[in-house]
Amino acid sequence: MSLRRSFAITRNELRLLRRDPTPLVILIAMPLLIVPILRATCRAVLVVSGHPHASGSDFAVPGQAVSFIFFLAPTIAFTFFREHGWRTWARLRASCGNSAEILLGKALPMLAVGALQLALLFGVGVAVLDLHVPGSAVGVALLCLALLLCVVALGLALTAVFRTMQQLNAFGYLGATFFGMLGGAFVPLAMLPSWARAVAPATPQYWAMRGLRSLILDGKGTSAVGLPVAVLCGYALLFVIIALWRLRFDDAKVGWA
C-alpha cells in the first residue's frame, strides 16, 4: 500500500471540495443557526429535569453536533458514487495498487471535515452561545474522535450496501435524522416516549449524547466517557465489517439516476 497514492487521492478530494464547498458550509452553518432557536426550549427541559443552571446550549450545541455529524456519512458515500457518475471509478482503480489506498484517500479529508465541523460548532458555542464545558477537555476530544471514526465507517458501509444514489439519499439523510431523534440528539431523551427511550441505546447517537452530557452537564472526568467511547468504536468496527463484507470494487453503481 502506498500512502503517497492515498494522499494524492486526498488532495484531489480537497480540490473537488474547494470547487463546491456548499455542502460543507451547510453542514457547519445550519447547526449554528438552529442552536439559538432551540436554546430556550432546551433550557426549560433541562431545568425541569434537575439542571437549574443550564443555559440550554449545554444540550443544543452537543445535540446539533451529534445530529449533523451523521449527515457526513452519506456525504462520504457520495464521493464514491460521484466517481461512478463521472466514470472515473475504473480509472481510479486501475491507477491504484490497492483498494485500501482509495478508501484511505477518501476517508482522510472527511475526517478533517468532520473535525472542523465539531471544532467550529463547539468553539462558537463556547465563544458566543453560552456553552460551558466543566468536564474534561481530553474526554471531549476522545469522544469526538470516536464519533468521527464511527461516522466515517458508517459512510463506507453505506457505500457498500447501496447501489444507487437514490437509495443513498433516501436512507442516508432520512436515517441520520431519524436515528438522531431516537438517540436523543434533537430533543432531550426525557421528552421521548418510553418505547423510544427503551430502544435509544441501540443507536450510536445515544452513546455520543450520553458521553457529552456527562462532560458538559455533569462536569465529569475522562473516565466517564470510557463506555461511550468504547461503544462508538464498536459501532465503527461493525460498520467496517459490513463495508468489507459487502463492498465489491468491481460492482457497478448508479451515479446520477
Binding site: R4, R5, A8, I9, R11, N12, R15, L16, R19, D20, W86, R87, T88, A90, R91, L92, R93, A94, S95, C96, G97, N98, D250
Partner: protein, 318 residues
C-alpha cells in the same frame, strides 16, 4: 513467437462469462514492445471485457494474462504501474480543470513536482490541450474531452497502453492527434492495444490485428497479411425489395436481404454477368458498389456478413 524480453502483453486461453453469457471464449494474443495491436469486433464481441481483465479490473474465469513479468490473474494490483488505461467511456473529473485532471492521475502514476509539470506539458502539447489547461472539463467540447481522457492514460509513460474505442465521437482533428500520439508512443517502445470497431483507422495505423466475434478470435495477424489471405474484392448489387435469386453461375454469390454480394477477382466483370441474367429484376436494381480488399472484406469472408459495428446479425444465403 515473440521474444519474451520484448513482450508487453501475453494473453493465453482467457475465458470469461457473466451469468451464463459467454463474453470471452479462449482468447489468446500477444503484444510486443513497439507494437500496435488493433482489437477489432462489433459491439458485444468482448473487447471491453478483455481490456478490463488486462488492466486488472476483472478476473477471468480461466486463462493466463501477463503484462511484462507480472501475472495479472495472480496479482492484479501490481500491473497498475505498467498499464495506462483509457476506458471506453470518457472518464474525467467534470468540475476540475484540464490541468487538475492531469495532476491527480500524474501523481497516482508516481510523478511529482518538476517531472509532473514537464510531463503534463508534454502530454498537453501532443494532444493539443496546451491552450485548454485552465478550462474546466465540463466546458470542453466532446473531442477536447476525449483528448484529455486519452492524455490521462499517457502520463506515466506506460509499458502497455490500453485504449478502448479512443476515437468514438471524436472530430477529425482529435482523431488525427490521437492516432499520431499512438504512433509516437509505439516508436518509444510502448505496446498498445487499440480497441475499436472503426476498421479504416486500424488499417491506417498499420497495426497488427485481432478480430473478435462473440468472444472468440476469428483471425489475427498483420493487416496486409489478413487482407492477402482472406480479403476479396466484392461487388454488391442493391435492389428495391428482396434481392432476386441468382440464375446460374452463382457459386460466389450471396443473397442478403436486399443485396446480392459477388466475390470475385474481377468483381466488375462478375457483376456485369449477373446483371445480364437478372431479367425483369434488373428494373429493381438501385445501386452497384465495388468493395476493394480490406478488413471489411476479410470480415465478410470469415463470417459471411458485412462488418456491422452495432453487432447486428445479417442473413447469408445464395
Amino acid at each position: 513467437m515473440s521474444d519474451e524480453a520484448d513482450l508487453r502483453l501475453s494473453v493465453v486461453e482467457v475465458r470469461k462469462s457473466y451469468r451464463g453469457r459467454v463474453a470471452l471464449d479462449g482468447v489468446s494474443l500477444e503484444v510486443s514492445a513497439g507494437e500496435i495491436l488493433g482489437l477489432l469486433g462489433p459491439n458485444g464481441a468482448g473487447k471491453t471485457t478483455l481490456v478490463s481483465i488486462v488492466a486488472g479490473l476483472r478476473r477471468p474465469d480461466a486463462g493466463l494474462v501477463q503484462v511484462g513479468p507480472i501475472d495479472v490473474v495472480a496479482n492484479p494490483r501490481a500491473v497498475h504501474s505498467m498499464v495506462g488505461l483509457a476506458p471506453q467511456e470518457t472518464a474525467v473529473y467534470e468540475v476540475l480543470t484540464v490541468r487538475e485532471n492531469l495532476i491527480v492521475f500524474g501523481e497516482l502514476a508516481g510523478l511529482r513536482r518538476g517531472p509532473l509539470v514537464v510531463r503534463i506539458d508534454e502530454v498537453g502539447a501532443a494532444l493539443r490541450l496546451g491552450h485548454l489547461m485552465d478550462r474546466v472539463a465540463h466546458q470542453l467540447s466532446g473531442g477536447e474531452r476525449r483528448r484529455l481522457h486519452t492524455g490521462i492514460a499517457l502520463l506515466g509513460r506506460p509499458a502497455l497502453l490500453l485504449l478502448d474505442e479512443p476515437t468514438v465521437g471524436a472530430d477529425v482533428d482529435t482523431r488525427a492527434a490521437l492516432v499520431e500520439t499512438v504512433r509516437a508512443l509505439a516508436r518509444e517502445g510502448s505496446g498498445i492495444v487499440y480497441s475499436t470497431h472503426y476498421l479504416p483507422e486500424v488499417e491506417s495505423l498499420g497495426a497488427s490485428v485481432v478480430i473478435l466475434v462473440a468472444g472468440r478470435v476469428i483471425a489475427s495477424g498483420r493487416v496486409d497479411e489478413l487482407i492477402a489471405r482472406h480479403g476479396h474484392a466484392t461487388a454488391e448489387l442493391v435492389f428495391d425489395g428482396p434481392a432476386p435469386y441468382c440464375n446460374g453461375g452463382c457459386e460466389s454469390v450471396m443473397r442478403d436481404d436486399d443485396v446480392l454480394r459477388i466475390t470475385s477477382r474481377e468483381p466488375a466483370v462478375a457483376a456485369a454477368s449477373v446483371i445480364s441474367r437478372l431479367g425483369a429484376d434488373r428494373n429493381r436494381l438501385r445501386a452497384v458498389e465495388l468493395l476493394r480488399p480490406s478488413l471489411d472484406s476479410v470480415f465478410l469472408t470469415l463470417t459471411g456478413r458485412r462488418y456491422d459495428a452495432e453487432g447486428r446479425d445479417g442473413v447469408a444465403a445464395a
